[in-house]
């Protein structure tokens, strides 16, 4: 075993997270110990008793790999993101929240500050005497920002490990590279540069959808492409690396690994693809296509579940 000082330093910091990304590391099983033996964990509030002052005390730029798990939604997250950037040699957006905003990004359909005001301060309550939240002075709560941000919208990011949670194979791949000392190019995504469809074992025959179905409305044929059966599947517009696990479980891909290389907005890519293949055999002068889209009431949920914050529009119109 290398002496402590020669081991790469690692930190796992948390933003607006569900902790699924760092918690899922335990599922690496015994091979996790190969990683922990070979590194020095400098900061990881979930697993060790490192406090903020420990992270602040390390030399700037001295932590070889900082995994930032979560989106940036309040001032504490923002400070943590900036601190991580300062202390990291290589900063990783860990999980779809860090990479794209993830599920917390859905708060961009409204405004966190407005919701907070409605929720905690504005409403009279029938039976209690709630006091308003305190945001100033000693002991104040961290303020909400105006929206949710992906990590690279607030600081410079070196590496991306998307997924909700990132598939363990991809996580192992990153750790493997770090431990072997392999240099990781800035801007690397630990995910496939080809779409989920390449990894999906379903049979693809003929893209011509007569009717769209929400996935709970029908029990799809387990062997055939879900999109061909009329279920909106984000596979064609999403990076692979997950072995199409959702499709294997008879559910559509929901796009958590994010857009393919050179595509900035997977939602609109998918809308384009989908609209092109519905009603393909029923295109005529007098066709009315509105019925086929009747069932789609939530384009945000259907196409931008995980990528709202990084989408081209980014957030609902600011009032």
């Amino acid at each position: 075993m290398k002496p402590e000082s020669a081991k790469p330093k690692i930190a796992i910091a948390l933003g607006a997270t569900c902790s699924g990304c760092d918690y899922s590391l335990l599922d690496l099983g015994p091979s996790l110990l190969d990683v922990t033996d070979a590194v020095e964990i400098v900061y990881w509030p979930t697993g060790i008793d490192s406090k903020l002052e420990d992270l602040e005390a390390v030399e700037d730029g001295s932590i070889d790999l900082v995994l930032f798990d979560g989106a940036v939604v309040n001032e504490d997250n923002l400070e943590m993101a900036r601190l991580c950037r300062k202390k990291a040699k290589s900063l990783v957006a860990f999980g779809s929240c860090g990479a794209y905003g993830g599920i917390p990004g859905l708060i961009n359909t409204g405004s966190p500050k407005k919701i907070l005001l409605e929720v905690y301060q504005g409403l009279p309550s029938r039976s209690d005497k709630s006091e308003p939240l305190k945001f100033e002075g000693e002991g104040a709560l961290p303020k909400m920002l105006g929206q949710a941000y992906a990590l690279d919208q607030v600081v410079d990011v070196d590496v991306y490990l998307p997924g909700c949670p990132p598939p363990l194979k991809l996580v192992s791949s990153l750790f493997g590279d770090v431990l072997s000392g392999k240099p990781i190019a800035k801007g690397t995504y630990y995910a496939s540069s080809r779409s989920v469809c390449y990894e999906c074992k379903r049979v693809k025959e003929n893209k011509d959808i007569a009717t769209l179905h929400r996935y709970h409305e029908i029990q799809p044929d387990p062997k055939r492409c879900l999109l061909e059966q009329g279920i909106i599947c984000m596979g064609p517009a999403t990076r692979g690396g997950c072995e199409a696990v959702c499709c294997n479980q008879n559910q559509p891909c929901r796009g958590c690994l994010g857009p393919l290389p050179n595509a900035e907005d997977s939602g609109s890519e998918m809308m384009s693809a989908l609209a092109s293949i519905v009603s393909l055999s029923n295109e005529s002068k007098d066709s009315d296509y509105s019925a086929i889209f009747d069932d789609i009431n939530d384009t945000i949920g259907s196409f931008y579940t995980f990528t709202m914050a990084k989408s081209l529009l980014g957030r609902r119109k600011v009032e």
């Binding site: 607006a16 997270t17 569900c18 902790s19 699924g20 990304c21 918690y23 899922s24 335990l26 599922d27 099983g29 015994p30 996790l32 110990l33 509030p45 979930t46 697993g47 060790i48 008793d49 490192s50 406090k51 939604v73 309040n74 504490d76 993830g102 859905l106 359909t109 409204g110 919701i115 907070l116 929720v119 905690y120 409403l123 009279p124 309550s125 029938r126 039976s127 209690d128 709630s130 308003p132 939240l133 305190k134 002991g139 709560l141 961290p142 909400m144 949670p165 929400r214 996935y215 709970h216 387990p222 959702c246 294997n248 479980q249 008879n250 559910q251 009431n297 939530d298 945000i300 579940t305």
Partner: protein
């Protein structure tokens, strides 16, 4: 006045700080467990397709995603009027029990054990699972991880992966189990039992059989007399997926018992300025501030609550441990640190249930989904590992979500956590030069509850009035709903 802040709270899920305020004599005046995160699920789930809620709400928490997923499935089963067929229910139950093993064991080894199995004065840098592995030996550490991996393998077989499963569907499950799946689960079920027994042995040898620990548990500063709430089956045994909600008084007698659907008549919430997490209380007793005893509406949920509310387990090995627990600590047990013991005993029950359910001939049945009816309203309640979890939804005729209410275990326990931390701080933190391990002992109190603060601060208050108005892009009011006003 002096303020000492423990930042961040460690070995729990989520963001919290503890602010300890002391006067000039070095006495603790106030200790505030501040939850410092907020996400907004109950708000941004509005406008979503109702069938997506089990997928979205799973992301409330990456440690207990199956709990949210299951509560959400039950709520959407009801919302779509689609009671699942027997095979689907059995697979769901098996998965849930594997999940309980998966979650509870991680909590014990990674979050709690460093306090219980290492010397309490261990320096901060060593007080963690990695040091624990060094002490007990790498082989043993690897073995524990391998045994626990059997649980995550089962979850992967059934749900695609252990974290954020791709599993359920309103009305059932999305993929049935093959013969090979069931054989693989059965093989691993033995490892679950092994993990459960090993964990209990460790706990009993190092904690439960040691007088100094039982004395620690019984120390008045760490005992909080409160009400308790949990699901209870018809047989009065601990159950996680069905039943009514029962609330007992600090003396152990029953206060009330009601159907999960009427939770809003029994639990109310208030908020305080220094934390994002709300404070539920029993409506019938009332909010008297952060206080213990029969006059205060504070109640607790989770393993300790389940042990106090129910009369035992339906599986033999767990039942034997349950009896030992009661013999040692009495009933109802108000010793907050005893949550840790109840938790490891539940691992045995969950492992026994997996072994039992995997033998069911219906498990691989073909009928896994019920047809969907018209969307309406649904309440789904489960006992999450950390306690009572409520998901309540309404959707319009298009299946678009119009109302979401979530009350999660760590929110139910917020008062308990704050009370426990304050009482312990007052007892332990004194004077000026306070050694660092003292602060850790204060932190041990919240760790007993195994808080999950991403869960606790998902968003909106449970019973506060809410008005929701939906406008189209030209400013025309399309829909307006209100509750509780």
């Amino acid at each position: 006045m002096k303020r000492v802040v423990i930042n961040p709270a460690t070995r729990l899920e989520g963001h919290a700080k503890i602010a300890i305020i002391m006067d000039d004599r070095g006495e603790v005046q106030e200790a505030l467990f501040q939850t410092v995160e907020f996400k907004g699920f109950e708000s941004f789930c509005l406008g979503r397709n109702a069938e997506e809620l089990p997928v979205i709400t799973s992301r409330i928490c990456g440690v207990c995603p199956w709990a949210h997923h299951m509560a959400s499935l039950k709520a959407t089963d009801a919302l779509f009027n689609a009671p699942p067929p027997p095979t689907a229910l059995k697979v769901r139950e098996l998965a849930y029990d594997a999940f309980l093993v998966h979650d509870h064991s991680a909590v014990f080894y990674a979050l709690a054990a460093p306090d219980l199995l290492l010397d309490p004065d261990t320096p901060r840098a060593q007080r963690n699972i990695l040091e624990l592995v060094k002490r007990i030996g790498r082989d043993t550490g690897a073995k524990v991880l391998a045994l626990r991996k059997a649980a995550s393998d089962i979850l992967t077989i059934v749900g695609g992966r252990a974290t954020h499963p791709i599993f359920g569907c309103p009305g059932g499950i999305s993929r049935g189990l093959t013969k090979e799946d069931i054989a693989a689960i059965k093989e691993r079920s033995r490892q679950l039992i092994e993990l459960a027994e090993l964990t209990n042995k460790v706990f009993e040898d190092t904690v439960a059989s040691k007088k100094e620990f039982i004395d620690l548990f019984n120390t008045d500063a760490f005992v909080n007399r409160s009400y308790y709430a949990s699901l209870i089956g018809r047989d009065g045994k601990i159950g996680f997926l069905d039943g009514d909600i029962r609330v007992i008084k600090p003396d152990g007698s029953v206060l009330e018992e009601f159907k999960p659907n009427s939770y809003q008549d029994h639990f109310k919430e208030t908020s305080l300025p220094w934390t994002y997490m709300k404070f539920p209380y029993l409506q019938s007793v009332g909010w008297k501030g952060l206080a213990e005893g029969e006059d205060s509406g504070v109640y607790r949920v989770g393993p300790l609550a389940r042990f106090n509310v129910a009369n035992g387990f339906s599986t033999p090995r767990a039942q034997a441990k349950f009896e030992l627990f009661r013999e040692t600590l009495g009933s109802p047990a108000h010793q907050t640190l005893a949550y840790q013991w109840a938790r490891v005993i539940e691992i045995i029950h969950a492992a026994e249930k997996v072994s039992e359910l995997v033998e069911d001939p219906d498990l691989g049945g073909a009928e896994i989904r019920s047809p969907i009816g018209k969307p309406g309203e649904g309440v789904g309640v489960v006992e999450a590992p950390r306690g009572l979890l409520i998901h309540h939804y309404r959707a319009n005729e298009m299946g678009t979500v119009t109302f979401v209410n979530l009350i999660v275990p760590s929110t139910h326990n917020n008062s308990g956590i704050c009370l426990s931390v304050k009482k312990a701080a007052k007892h332990l933190v004194k004077g000026t030069d306070i050694p660092e391990p003292v602060f850790n002992r204060v932190e041990m109190l919240y760790r007993a509850y195994d808080p999950c603060l991403a869960c606790g601060t998902h968003a909106l208050p449970g019973s506060m009035p809410l008005e929701f108005e939906l406008y189209d892009s030209s400013g025309r009011l399309l829909r307006s709903e209100s509750r509780g006003t």
